[in-house]
């Protein structure tokens, strides 16, 4: 009456998401596998940031790592080997409203999917990319991967790997438009959590290489890092990965590194021993591809019809 709304009540549906809201099927990784730690951390971050489960998508390829979407309570896309990134980019391209996570591995991302890795870095679409790097093909039972150390014996190289391992950090840093590169370890839950959270907070393509334990096929690859923390170099900085003092004490080697310094980032990344953990490089100013690709995604039918008719006009006789 008199143009006033009769009902002034505001319908606020408070939704609070608990850890269980992000849980899917029961994880079937081997006991002692580092993947469990990553899954737990991802679910905690979702909870802590209160991400709506129906607006999040976990995308993966094939491999042990790529089982992750099945264990999430979000939408998931468990696709084909090496191709998680094109799918994830396609999802984001016209749905910038969605929160996109990618779970991939050293074989999935750095070998069969290597072409997509390079170009996904260039597209710099806003997504969190977790590379579960255990230096071996686990699901297919112990074949040499690109990050298998030289001399490591596998079923495809019983005399030991004959190629020097690929360095995913220097490779990623070398790609134009790179905007976030970090490395962490699955056996330090605090650093793992803070690193992945920083990656998720970053707007752009954030790649986290996770040194991940495979107790069955490549235990030796990371065992020495667990036994002797001095084989790690913790990169710290006020703009880097923030961890508590208690956690800091676990790392005997520490180095202040400004993540905006590409040249230094490359130097640390290049060193395999001690192995750098922390934020190597971040640039928040790189444009995101979805800013271009999503243009017009919400255009109405009337406008589209007008656009189509205009296109017809230009070929009319």
């Amino acid at each position: 009456m008199f143009g006033l709304k009769a009902d002034w009540s505001v319908d606020i549906k408070q939704r609070y998401f608990a850890l269980g809201d992000y849980a899917g099927g029961e994880a079937r990784w081997c006991p002692g596998c580092g993947d469990h730690a990553v899954l737990t951390v991802v679910q905690r971050i979702c909870r802590d940031k209160q991400l709506a489960p129906e607006k999040s998508v976990a995308v993966s390829g094939i491999g042990c790592s790529s089982r992750l979407p099945h264990y999430m309570g979000t939408y998931g896309f468990h696709g084909i080997h090496g191709r998680a990134l094109p799918v994830a980019c396609g999802i984001k391209s016209r749905r910038p409203d969605l929160d996109v996570w990618v779970a991939t591995g050293d074989g999935d991302c750095y070998s069969i999917g290597a072409g997509h890795w390079i170009h996904a870095v260039r597209y710099n679409m806003n997504m969190t990319v977790l590379v579960f790097d255990n230096g071996i093909y686990g699901l297919t039972k112990k074949q040499t991967s690109p990050t298998t150390p030289l001399g490591f014996k596998s079923n495809t190289h019983p005399q030991g790997a004959i190629l020097q391992q690929l360095n995913p950090l220097t490779a990623t840093l070398g790609i134009s438009n790179v905007s976030f590169v970090a490395q962490t370890i699955d056996w330090n839950p605090i650093h793992l959590y803070e690193t992945i959270k920083a990656a998720h907070d970053h707007r752009g393509f954030s790649l986290v290489n996770i040194i991940q334990r495979c107790p069955v096929f490549s235990k030796e690859v990371s065992q020495h890092l667990q036994d002797d923390q001095s084989k790690l170099l913790l990169l710290t900085h006020e703009n880097g990965i923030a961890i508590t003092d208690n956690a800091l004490r676990l790392f005997p080697n520490q180095q202040i590194h400004d993540p905006s310094d590409m040249s230094k980032a490359y130097d640390y990344a290049f060193e395999m021993s001690p192995l750098p953990v922390g934020l190597l490089y971040q640039n928040a100013d790189v444009p995101c591809y979805e800013d271009f690709s999503s243009k017009g995604h919400d255009m109405g039918v009337e406008e589209k019809l007008a656009g189509f008719n205009a296109a017809l006009d230009s070929v009319a006789i």
């Binding site: 129906e54 607006k55 099945h70 016209r94 690709s293 017009g296 995604h297 255009m299 205009a310 009319a316």
Partner: protein, 639 residues
């Protein structure tokens, strides 16, 4: 073959005047051939547009050299255009040309090798080479002209360069408009329409350029009027005068279809002959809010489109045979996980890199059966340029309604052929609906298969309570990975049943010609016009020959077996490989049939024969006509 009569008129200069009465003809095939960069295609397209505006049926097709910058004056460098115009609907490029304008003699050799000409074809040949400073060129020219004449071409030497030099110091750039002027005079085109088209074409480059080109056009027109004794009238086609027309090639039509379908993403990787569809879209797609994604490779292109479709924005990828091969694994994922997806395949010659710029219908079986395991999907083929537009709209609807990838096959012939056709009236229902973000029923599985049809609604990311994990692994209706015997069998049943459900909605194909008879020709794709033209011609001669043309290849259209029972013999006409019956070592036991024939034989158990070739050329009505006659005579002998 079309009759050579008009072309075999006397050719030497007469004292013709403008009062000469044009000879009425039903149709003519004209070519302009040159080195690339001489504007032959522009002249031909303009000539085609003028003709279409005057009410003629028109089909133009570009003659494309295989190399980017071939040497000048070389057969391999032949670049140009063919324009077939007539007093009826023109559906294909026809057989041998009636009149050719050539800017040098060497390029003619490649066309002669393609059987593009006949005895009596008139060649209006640039004569400047006769006086070229290079004695080698002079000799080449003289030898060739003599050879052409000996072989029955009617060569008329025309001083095009000399005439153009009167108006411009750079005749190479303007000669095409002189040629256009000659053609417009020869075919009694409206001179105002010509000037108008030049204005449209060059308007952006300024008044001076327009005027110069109009002067060159007029010079060509006057030259033909005063010096050439060819003058024809091609009466307009009696069609509804209110009908509005558009002119495009098949790839542009496909791009328009993408826009009309409301798809807002195309992911592609450059591949001939598909890429020009994306070039076109890149120009206009933003008008409908769409985006062209040029991916890092073919695999990423389809993966990107699948990602977009999974998120509710059904997308399209446009490719050709080698690209389709690379996309195979993703296509299988889309089948397995029931992701709507449109895959446009502009076929070229194969296998391997094959004939990138030339036509073949070689990807039919790869489209149907390219993936490992059982991978049922919808496969449709456009038969006309107009269908390239409308079938994209249909493909998106089918993809979403049946929750499946849809492969739309076209080919290089449709992609580069240009034709006027009715302007579509855009409809809102052609467009994809906005994505559904309402809550999903908690107790509704993501694959809520209808037992009978295999159909199920699809949850879209963002829908509350719709969360599921799409997987390429065998799965239950809850999309849970399942390796048990029943789950895999059920999943395969459900995916296959969707094709049966689609089949039940289709109508039997229309028969062109009599409902029964001696011989039935079956075709698919771009051969429609050539087949029907050939069939019409033999029917006029009293033979009981008909044809059917299939648009749906998976599922096949219903009623085929029944139709086949009404004809004594059936054979397919296709542009893909088959063994000739009498080739060495070939027996009925090992003969390899063309692709549609294999499908039809398997599906109908009828002894469907085939006739096909892989010349890399559009199917010519004359060749089909000859083959039909050969078969009719064989049948007479058998009786």
């Amino acid at each position: 073959m079309s009759k050579p009569s008009e072309a075999s008129q006397p050719v030497e200069k007469d004292n013709a005047t403008s009062s000469r009465t044009p000879e009425r003809i039903d149709e003519n095939i004209v070519e302009i051939v040159s080195d690339s960069g001489e504007g032959a295609q522009k002249a031909g397209q303009t000539f085609g547009t003028i003709s279409a505006k005057m009410g003629n049926g028109v089909w133009t097709v570009e003659i494309i050299p295989a190399e980017i910058q071939p040497p000048s004056r070389s057969p391999a460098g032949a670049s140009g255009i063919r324009v077939r115009l007539g007093s009826s609907h023109i559906t294909n490029m026809g057989d041998a040309a009636d009149l050719v304008v050539a800017l040098n003699e060497q390029v003619l050799y490649s066309r002669i090798a393609s059987y593009a000409y006949k005895r009596g074809t008139v060649v209006l040949l640039e004569n400047k080479w006769r006086t070229d400073p290079d004695p080698k060129i002079r000799e080449q020219y003289e030898t060739s002209v003599a050879e052409f004449r000996k072989n029955g071409l009617i060569v008329r030497e025309v001083p095009m360069e000399e005439e153009c030099l009167k108006l411009t110091p750079r005749p190479r750039l303007g000669k095409n408009m002189f040629v256009l002027g000659m053609l417009c005079r020869i075919y009694s085109r409206d001179i105002d329409k010509g000037n108008n088209e030049i204005e449209i074409t060059f308007g952006r480059k300024g008044k001076k350029v327009v005027e110069l080109n109009q002067q060159l056009f007029k010079a060509g027109y006057d030259f033909a009027e005063n010096n050439l004794d060819y003058c024809y009238e091609v009466p307009p086609w009696q069609r509804k005068s209110t009908e509005r027309l558009i002119v495009t090639n098949g790839n542009q039509a496909m791009g328009l279809g993408v826009m009309a379908s409301g798809m807002d993403l195309v992911a592609m990787y450059p591949i001939t002959p598909a890429t020009s569809a994306s070039h076109y879209l890149a120009d206009v797609y933003d008008k409908v809010g769409g985006f062209i994604h040029q991916a890092e490779d073919e695999i990423a292109a389809v993966g990107f489109a699948i990602g977009s479709s999974y998120a509710g924005k059904t997308a399209c990828t446009i490719t050709s045979g080698p690209g389709l091969a690379l996309k195979t694994e993703f296509v299988a994922l889309a089948v397995m996980a029931e992701i709507p997806l449109v895959i446009c395949v502009v076929q070229r010659g194969g296998p391997s890199t094959g004939l990138p710029t030339k036509v073949e219908q070689g990807d039919l079986l790869a489209s149907l059966y390219g993936e490992p395991g059982d991978s049922p999907k919808v496969v449709i083929a456009a038969a006309t340029i107009e269908e390239c537009l409308h079938f994209v709209i249909m493909a998106r609807k089918l993809a979403e309604a049946f929750r499946t990838p849809v492969i739309l096959l076209t080919d290089a012939n449709l992609a580069t052929g240009v034709q006027p056709y009715p302007r579509p009236e855009a409809k809102a229902e052609w467009m994809a609906a906005p994505i559904d973000q309402s809550a999903w029923g908690k107790d509704v599985p993501p694959f809520d298969w209808d037992e009978e049809t295999g159909l199920s609604p699809r949850p879209v990311v963002g829908q509350l309570d719709g969360q599921y994990v799409l997987t390429g692994l065998a799965h239950t209706k809850w999309s849970k990975v399942a390796y048990d015997r029943e789950s895999n069998q059920t999943g395969c049943n459900m995916r296959s049943r969707k094709l049966a459900a689609l089949y039940s909605t289709l109508k039997p194909p229309k028969i062109h010609g009599g409902e029964e008879g001696d011989l039935l020709v079956v075709g698919w794709g771009s051969t429609l016009g050539a087949i029907e033209e050939a069939v019409d011609k033999v029917r006029v001669e009293g033979h009981k020959v008909s044809s059917v043309h299939l648009r749906f290849l998976s599922p096949l259209e219903p009623g085929l077996k029944e139709i086949f029972t009404r004809f004594k013999k059936i054979f397919t006409v296709e542009i893909n490989y088959s063994d000739e019956e009498d080739a060495p070592l070939i027996t009925p036991g090992n003969r390899r049939y063309s692709q549609l024939a294999i499908l039809l034989r398997a599906q109908t158990l009828v002894d469907v024969d085939c006739w096909s070739n892989v010349y890399g050329q559009p199917m010519q009505p004359g060749l089909i006509y000859d083959e039909i006659n050969r078969r009719i005579n064989l049948m007479k002998g058998e009786n």
